[in-house]
């Protein structure tokens, strides 16, 4: 720090700037994080009988919005009736709370570890705009696939895998298989 900087410190940065300027700590080692994840997953099964999940929570949130906007439509589609037909509240479900909790927990860890940052994480060879489009496209495909498979990497691969559901293991290999299969062809996105 030079003498000039010491003489003129300038105005204190705003709250959001300070929030995002915390020094970034290194990631936890994968094996240790995996062990912690396993403990959380076990605790969930042990206490509640349910594993973890995410897509189900997002599913119910979007169905909630659909029910607000077009309730008669929801009452006519079998897939939607089960979730929000009549006066059923789709948000009153464990997986919605887990999804909301995950956002809070992700924020808390990001805050503590100095990784809160308004930015676009992307590969070096593509533009930010391309990344946004690809993220939306990837999310769309994933969302569709997750309901097709009745669960995503959290609800099926991780949770179902841990309790040895045969379908979950098959599904898990399908996810990895197709991702690996496509990776080379779209390497420009990431490498």
């Amino acid at each position: 720090m030079t003498a000039t900087m010491q003489a003129h410190p300038g105005p204190r940065p705003g709250f959001w700037t300070r929030l995002q300027s915390r020094p970034a700590k290194p990631y936890t080692h994968p094996y240790f994080a995996g062990a912690l994840l396993g403990l959380v997953l076990f605790a969930s099964f042990f206490l509640t009988g349910n594993g973890l999940g995410a897509s189900g929570g997002l599913n119910r949130m979007i169905v909630y919005v659909e029910d607000l906007v077009a309730p008669e439509h929801v009452d006519r589609v079998p897939y939607l009736i089960n979730l929000a037909g009549g006066d059923r509240n789709p948000l009153d479900d464990w997986v919605v709370l887990v999804a909301v909790g995950a956002v809070l927990g992700g924020f808390a860890s990001g805050w503590r570890n100095g990784r809160l940052k308004l930015e676009t994480a992307k590969g070096p060879r593509i533009s930010t705009r391309t990344r946004w489009v690809m993220a939306f496209a990837g999310g769309t495909i994933m969302g569709f696939g997750a309901r097709f498979a009745r669960g995503c990497t959290s609800g099926q691969a991780l949770s179902g895998g841990a309790v040895l559901s045969a379908g979950s293991w098959v599904l898990m290999f399908a996810i990895f298989g197709s991702a690996y299969g496509l990776a080379y062809f779209i390497r420009r996105l990431w490498l």
């Binding site: 995996g34 042990f46 589609v77 709370l97 990497t153 959290s154």
Partner: protein, 409 residues
């Protein structure tokens, strides 16, 4: 049988239960972010062999949770019957998985990690989450067009133990060994493609691997409870309930339950096919002891307002089935007191097609029928206004334990 999982709603109320889930989610999101899963390029690195964090965290999580689940079950603390094991829809799962893989590599995130990315202000995370909402919306709007396929190849609560005909302990050990092998392979790939310096990796990981193998061996040694073990865990209380006639429901109460709208009555008739065809209660379902194991997962998923009534001609066969159901964690199971014989004693008079015969052996039908009308006799569904029977009220609905909803859906 295991006191875990808990009947949370009963212990801490509905809001308390939702809070528990919120806290679990909090821990979940926190750990994911700690591992770096809010950062899409890191996740994508998995598929270019440069950064195998996804594999290590996911499989690390799987084997730790798996070993703990099966250890807790083997020790009688946790009831594996009451935890959510995703039912297998084979082909929809495969197709869905293939689609998800595309979404994963194109977007660099998955639903859970996208929430974490969003939470740490990643704009790509926001776009991804919006995409997931859109994709789910598209699914809801189009699924009716392929709902036959979507509901096909249903194999029920199928486990790897069922598929490979191996004990849980063996499967646990094999999965642990496979995971450790994959970790070793992953480290090698990271060294080759990601230029990772293996020498600065924590040596503790070898100790960790040894611990996992030891735990898996312990699980194998402890074993998993059989139906007999499960019955033995509850036999004192349940045998007392049988001798004190607390779980045998009198015909008058059965009749009342048949007309009760607040609950779902499942009538299980365990007699021979010929007896069943002669006469049975309205909507009674005939099951055999051989078929019972396959039906148990279906029974366990019933809500807390479902009552099972098991019946035979007297009570012997019904009691045997009842014991198995109770041992295997089916809630609200009861026996029809006096069985069909007792039922016809109460409701069969006045129908001259039904005639009592000489008392036969135990659990033999004491009635003869002019023709085999099944449930078309009036006595199959007696009119409650015609019969004023007194009875001791014995059905008590139990608190629901285990998966609240239908899994992640």
């Amino acid at each position: 049988m295991g006191i875990f999982p808990l009947a949370l709603d009963g212990l801490i109320g509905h809001s308390g239960t939702l809070l528990v889930y919120l806290l679990i989610g909090f821990a979940f999101g926190y750990v994911l972010e700690m591992a770096g899963f809010g950062y899409a390029p890191k996740l994508a690195g998995q598929f270019y062999l440069t950064d195998m964090t996804v594999l290590k965290v996911m499989f690390g999580g799987i084997i730790v949770a798996m070993v703990l689940v099966f250890a807790a079950t083997g020790l009688g603390l946790l009831d594996y019957n009451l935890i959510w094991v995703n039912p297998t829809y084979l082909w929809p799962g495969i197709v869905g998985g293939l689609i998800m893989g595309v979404g994963f590599i194109v977007g660099g995130l998955c639903p859970g990690t996208s929430l974490v990315a969003l939470a740490t202000f990643k704009i790509d995370g926001l776009f991804y989450v919006l995409g997931v909402f859109f994709g789910i919306f598209l699914f809801g709007e189009t699924v009716d067009n392929f709902s036959i396929f979507w509901n096909s190849s249903y194999l029920g609560r199928l486990t790897l133990m069922d598929v490979f005909h191996l004990d849980a302990g063996v499967v646990v050990l094999l999965v642990v060994l496979m995971a450790l092998g994959m970790f070793a392979g992953a480290e090698l790939l990271e060294k080759v493609f990601g230029e990772r310096n293996l020498r600065i990796e924590p040596k503790a990981r070898f100790a960790g691997a040894a611990v996992m193998i030891a735990l898996a061996l312990a699980v194998l040694a402890i074993g998993q409870p059989s139906t007999e073990d499960r019955w033995a865990a509850v036999s004192q209380a349940k045998t007392a309930a049988l001798t004190e006639r607390q779980v045998q429901i009198q015909p008058g109460e059965v009749l009342h339950l048949m007309h009760e709208h607040d609950l779902t009555l499942v009538l299980l008739d365990v007699r021979s096919e010929s007896d069943y065809n002669l006469f049975h209660l309205a909507d009674a379902r005939r099951i055999t002891p051989e078929a019972l194991p396959e039906l148990l997962p279906e029974f366990r998923l019933e809500p807390a307002t479902t009552v099972f009534l098991v019946m035979s001609n007297d009570e012997t066969a019904a009691t045997t089935i009842w014991k198995t159901m109770v041992a295997e964690s089916v809630m609200n199971a009861y026996i029809v007191e006096g069985g069909i014989n007792g039922w016809l004693d109460a409701f069969g008079a006045g129908d001259d097609r039904i005639t009592p015969t000489a008392a036969g052996g135990d659990d033999e039908l004491r009635y003869a029928f002019a023709s085999a009308l099944g449930e078309s006799y009036p006595a199959s569904f007696p009119d409650p206004q015609k019969f004023e029977l007194t009875y001791d009220e014995r059905v008590k609905l139990e608190l629901k334990r285990g998966p609240a909803g239908k899994g992640c859906g």
